[in-house]
């Protein structure tokens, strides 16, 4: 417990705690989602300490072993411990998920808010460009990016990030457009604030809350996109421990003879994305005044 130096922080703590408790009470599903997210995050951050085995070391004495006390989730075809690979894979998933969601999201945020604020020709042109990008299916776009630059974590992130931008910009633009009409933006303009100040200080923060919630969904979608790319052989590559990669090859080859190789990484993906979605949904419900009781 921190030493209380004044009353204010205590109050803040308490309000935080009440808010958190209130959230848990009203959003049991969301709390469950949050728990999943936290578990994933802990696994990803402290993989070195909690993973029982080296995730990349081949062990030819223990190939395709069923779950046992030695290997809780079994081993894959190279004799690598699945639990350890899943724990390390959480890191890869979160890195890919967060970086692509946030980079793509923020690029979309800037474009969306700018487009809405300036309107006119800029808006028109940006909208058309976004239309073009939107028309490319995400996976095709990613396919092209990987075909050009090759595989690897950075390229996979780029491949997922690029298609996220227009999707994000579109959503942000819509909400920014409504905020642009709000009197406090007019008040800021009459106070003679610069465009950048109005965009950054007045519009962004008000778009950002729903946007951040949207990002939690994007993190999940990015993790899924990585899995799909991996499935096509274009995602992260061996020996990097990554969930999508673990499903590639192994999932199909051993689905029948060593099903744990296919089942556990798939569950890890599904559960994590599930967690992010649940949490995001609940957060939106909790924050969106329209959905709150009157």
């Amino acid at each position: 417990m921190a030493v209380m130096t004044s009353e204010a922080p205590d109050e803040i703590h308490r309000s935080w705690r009440t808010a958190a408790l209130g959230f848990c009470r009203r959003q049991p599903l969301g709390t469950f989602g949050l728990a999943i997210v936290i578990v994933t995050a802990i696994a990803g951050l402290s993989a070195e300490w909690i993973a029982p085995y080296n995730p990349t070391a081949n062990d030819f004495e223990a190939m395709t072993e069923a779950p046992s006390w030695a290997h809780w989730l079994g081993t894959d075809q190279f004799g690598r411990d699945l639990l350890s690979r899943i724990i390390y894979g959480a890191r890869t998933a979160l890195i890919i998920g967060f970086i692509s969601a946030f980079v793509g999201g923020f690029a979309g945020l800037v474009l969306g808010v700018g487009s809405a604020y300036f309107g006119g020709k800029i808006d028109l042109i940006l909208q058309r460009v976004m239309d073009i990008l939107m028309a490319f299916p995400l996976i095709i776009m990613a396919l092209a990016v990987v075909a050009i630059f090759g595989t690897g974590v950075q390229n996979v992130i780029a491949a997922i990030t690029v298609p996220l931008i227009p999707r994000c910009a579109r959503v942000v633009r819509a909400s920014a457009l409504s905020i642009r009409e709000v009197p406090y933006i007019d008040a800021a303009r009459t106070s003679g604030f610069s465009h950048s100040r109005i965009i950054l200080r007045h519009m962004m923060p008000n778009v950002v809350a729903p946007f951040l919630i949207m990002l939690t969904a994007f993190v999940g979608q990015a993790i899924l996109a990585e899995a799909s790319l991996s499935y096509l052989g274009l995602g992260v590559q061996e020996p990097t421990p990554a969930w999508g990669l673990m499903l590639q090859g192994g999932a199909e080859e051993y689905a029948s003879t060593a099903p744990w190789i296919a089942i556990f990484p798939g569950l890890a993906i599904a559960l994590t994305v599930f967690g992010f979605s649940l949490f995001g949904d609940a957060l939106r419900d909790a924050i969106d005044p329209k959905l709150r009781e009157r």
Binding site: V182, P183, Y184, D186, A187, A188, R189, T190, S191, G192, F193, S194, R197, R201, H202, P205, N206, A209
Partner: protein, 336 residues
């Protein structure tokens, strides 16, 4: 150009002078190749002026163009035509830096105390930001002191500086909005329906505050409102607008005691007074019809379809604003 001649010949030139203001919003169709298919004549030839220290009421029903007029003065819209002279200078001819300087002198108070404050900023920041941007306080400590002072002036506890708008009631928020407007030490404030969203018991508090501030800082108000009783209480002169035009303009008491334009009369008659006995004694006949669309306003006098006094010529002739009595201007051909 008739203009509004000053009744008080000895006064300085007006602080604000509006000449032939038109604001037409185009209605366009097509996404690729925009074609204009019509326009909303929100403001369609408005002239008036404001003396320093005066409060001019601008009344009318929704869609009459009173808010758009205010937005043009605030440079939130660029008028289609007409001139807005502030302190003798046409604001549309100003350079960027001059514009910025002018922004300081003209401020605004909005109607909705909920949406006019940025919900993500603390009250102290909302009020302090303009001071910061315009460099009106040398350092952060002075700025904070100034914010506290402004809050106090507006009847708020200076401790509210650390609160967020949603932690306050509607009346308190409106006071924050006023404090923000005062932060730049303006001389002219456009009050756009500044009290109409407030509850009756709070409304009076804010009206009193606005009056106090006017006296204390020598402010000039353009008071845009639809509530006639509030306008009567607060303003020295009143302009009545209908469909983008001013139909009557006079000193406050003159207008309320002796309304000339049929529309003004209808408006006044429509307002019920809080006294059952008086109401029981009134023989009340509401004006017929509704306000026509500003996209396609009627020709001639815009009020003629609803006017009990309308004659044939009203359909064709757009009546000019005439000064029937000293300082009392009316745009109606049928009154004298």
């Amino acid at each position: 150009m008739t203009g509004i001649a000053m009744t008080d010949a000895g006064a300085d030139r007006p602080l604000l002078e509006i000449k032939g203001l038109h604001m037409h919003f185009p209605i366009s169709e097509g996404i690729l190749m925009r074609r204009q298919v019509g326009e909303v004549k929100a403001v369609d030839g408005v002239d008036f002026s404001l003396r320093r220290g005066e409060t001019l009421g601008l009344v009318g029903e929704s869609g009459c163009g009173k808010t758009t007029t205010g937005r043009c003065i605030l440079q939130l819209e660029r008028p289609t035509s007409g001139a807005i002279l502030y302190d003798g200078v046409d604001i549309n001819t100003l350079s960027r830096s001059e514009r910025l300087a002018l922004r300081r002198r003209i401020q605004v108070i909005f109607q909705d105390p909920y949406s006019s404050l940025n919900p993500r900023m603390k009250v102290g920041d909302i009020v302090g930001e303009p001071i910061h941007v315009h460099g009106l306080a040398p350092d952060a400590a002075r700025r904070r002191a100034r914010v506290r002072e402004l809050l106090q002036v507006c009847g708020l506890n200076p401790g509210f500086a650390d609160r967020y708008p949603h932690e306050m009631s509607g009346g308190q928020r409106q006071r924050v909005g006023i404090a923000r407007a005062l932060a730049l030490e303006p001389e002219f404030i456009v009050c756009d329906e500044a009290v109409s969203a407030l509850d009756v018991s709070i409304q009076a508090q804010v009206i009193n505050l606005l009056e106090d501030l006017r006296e204390r800082f020598g402010l000039t108000y353009l008071f845009i409102a639809h509530d006639l009783s509030v306008v009567r209480h607060l303003c020295q002169r009143v302009a009545v607008m209908y469909l983008g035009r001013i139909v009557e303009l006079a000193d406050c008491d003159e207008l309320f005691d002796n309304p000339l334009h049929p529309y003004t009369r209808a408006l006044l008659a429509a307002v019920p007074v809080p006294d059952p006995v008086i109401e029981a004694g009134r023989n009340f006949q509401p004006v017929l019809g509704e306000v026509p669309s500003p996209i396609n306003p009627p020709g001639g006098c815009v009020f003629h379809p609803r006017c009990p006094k309308a004659v044939e010529s009203c359909r064709r002739m757009r009546p000019a604003l005439r000064e029937l009595r000293p300082g009392h201007w009316v745009a109606c051909s049928e009154v004298s």
